[in-house]
């Protein structure tokens, strides 16, 4: 079983451990036509991570990125002694929509990580990796980018498949996808976690290379904003 990724940079040791905090958090989906599946928001020590750019995705990250399943990553956070809010939006977070919630952090859980699948994609996810949680009272806003887990070819075929290792996209919550696509890509050139190159789409609802609509399902980074209010 893949655990959280150990993170060993000496610099992290230099950061001062802070006391328990009560944070108010707002996450907004900035895209025009993409939903986020249930979010996982975790505070944890600097020695663990949900994902890391340039590294292979864990099996649990793959399950989140390909099918929106955060149960494995949630268990990883618990096992690592982290604090979490799972599924704060009680389901999908629609384009333009926000979710607000509170997160109580324990001593030493000084870093915040966020993940959720971007739907419809093959294995795209919105996320931030180990943001140092501010300690001075105030409101802090960050941008989040769309990442590609590198675990599944971006074929852009909507076929209901969300299980890890199964090609295809589970669904388009907007209901604007086409059918019968031949597939855009057969493999990722980069099979490690990287910035998602975006989807191509087409305008053919009954064929063409993609089941996504190029006028609806594209995005540009950043795809989400994250506001942390320290009281």
């Amino acid at each position: 079983m893949n655990k959280l990724i150990p993170f060993g940079l000496a610099a992290m040791l230099a950061s001062t451990a802070v006391e328990a905090q009560e944070l108010d958090i707002t996450i907004t989906n900035l895209t025009h036509g993409s939903h986020f599946t249930p979010l996982l928001v975790a505070a944890h020590s600097g020695s663990t991570a949900l994902f890391e750019a340039g590294k292979a995705a864990s099996a649990h990250l793959q399950a989140m990125a390909e099918g929106g399943d955060i149960s494995g990553l949630s268990a990883d956070v618990d096992a690592a002694g982290g604090d979490k809010v799972a599924n704060p939006a009680a389901g999908l977070l629609a384009p333009g929509a926000s979710t607000q919630f509170s997160l109580s952090t324990n001593d030493g859980n000084d870093y915040l990580s966020v993940v959720a699948m971007v739907l419809p994609t093959n294995d795209g996810f919105v996320g931030v990796d180990r943001l140092a949680i501010p300690t001075e009272p105030g409101s802090y806003t960050y941008s989040m980018n769309a990442w590609d887990a590198g675990t599944e070819a971006n074929d852009e075929i909507v076929n209901g498949m969300g299980a890890p290792g199964m090609a295809g996209i589970p669904a388009d919550p907007l209901g604007k996808n086409g059918m019968g696509a031949t597939g855009v890509a057969s493999a990722d050139a980069n099979t490690l976690i990287h910035i998602h190159p975006g989807v191509i789409g087409d305008t053919d609802p009954n064929g063409g290379p993609s089941d996504l609509d190029s006028r609806i399902h594209r995005w540009l980074n950043p795809v989400a904003s994250l506001t942390i209010t320290v009281k």
Binding site: L9, A10, A11, M12, L13, A14, A53, G54, K55, N145, A146, D148, G150, N154, V184, A185, D188, A189, N190, T191, L192, H194, I195, H196, P197, G198, I200, P209, S214, L220, N221
Partner: protein
């Protein structure tokens, strides 16, 4: 992730004996070395980056500026992947040149430092080689207030040098997707200053004679730069 650690420490003793910036305590400064570890991670799907070039320098040196025409040094880098001119713009400064390109998903790390306390700004540049003239990096990055052990992460956008039209033709893209021409001194871009890059179109998105496919498309950021003060 494979990380190659390369040492590019320059002691800068020649600079000390040349022009002194702090005449009061030269002896102390001569003994102290400011050094940083720099790690570069290519965040793209399929844009290998040309051998990254880096230099430490005084404040105020901008290798490029949005809205200003690219220097020939930037043009040579952004069209052909040759970073040697950029790091030659200030003679005698500590520099680093990678020996090989940086593939997508891969990282490399090097150390760079100076005994001259005023040489505490960083420039890093590299070309996205499956493009006409896209590059990324940082320039005149102020490292002054980093304390030993401090770590900072920068996510950098793709820039368009504004020196070559983005025709995506095989003849004009030097990377492995095409194998075409690199640097050409003729300038034929519609906007002749450095801007942010809008990304590539590719033949999968309707530019029929593009040498690029969906695989080479990219969104920002394209490079992660992790800097640690040693």
């Amino acid at each position: 992730m494979k990380t190659i650690l390369l040492s590019a420490m320059m002691l800068g003793l020649a600079a000390c004996s040349g022009h002194h910036r702090n005449s009061g305590n030269d002896d102390a400064n001569m003994m102290e070395m400011s050094a940083w570890r720099v790690e570069l991670l290519n965040l793209t799907n399929d844009q290998p980056m040309s051998p990254p070039a880096a230099m430490l320098h005084d404040a105020g040196f901008d290798a490029w500026q949005v809205g200003q025409p690219a220097s020939e040094a930037i043009e040579v880098l952004a069209e052909g992947g040759d970073g040697s001119q950029i790091i030659s713009l200030q003679q005698g400064n500590p520099t680093f040149s990678a020996g090989t390109p940086l593939p997508a998903g891969q990282s490399l790390a090097f150390e760079i430092g100076s005994s001259d306390p005023a040489v505490d700004h960083l420039t890093v540049a590299t070309m996205l080689v499956n493009t006409n003239d896209a590059f990324t990096g940082v320039t005149d990055l102020d490292l002054r207030d980093m304390q030993s052990g401090d770590e900072r992460i920068f996510l950098t956008p793709a820039y368009d040098a504004g020196t070559e039209f983005n025709d995506e033709a095989a003849a004009h893209i030097p990377g492995p997707a095409a194998g075409g021409e690199g640097f050409n001194p003729a300038r034929n871009d519609v906007t002749s200053v450095v801007t942010h890059h809008a990304g590539v179109v590719s033949h999968d998105d309707g530019l029929a004679d593009s040498a690029l496919s969906q695989s080479q498309r990219f969104d920002n950021p394209v490079l992660m730069i992790k800097i640690t003060r040693l």
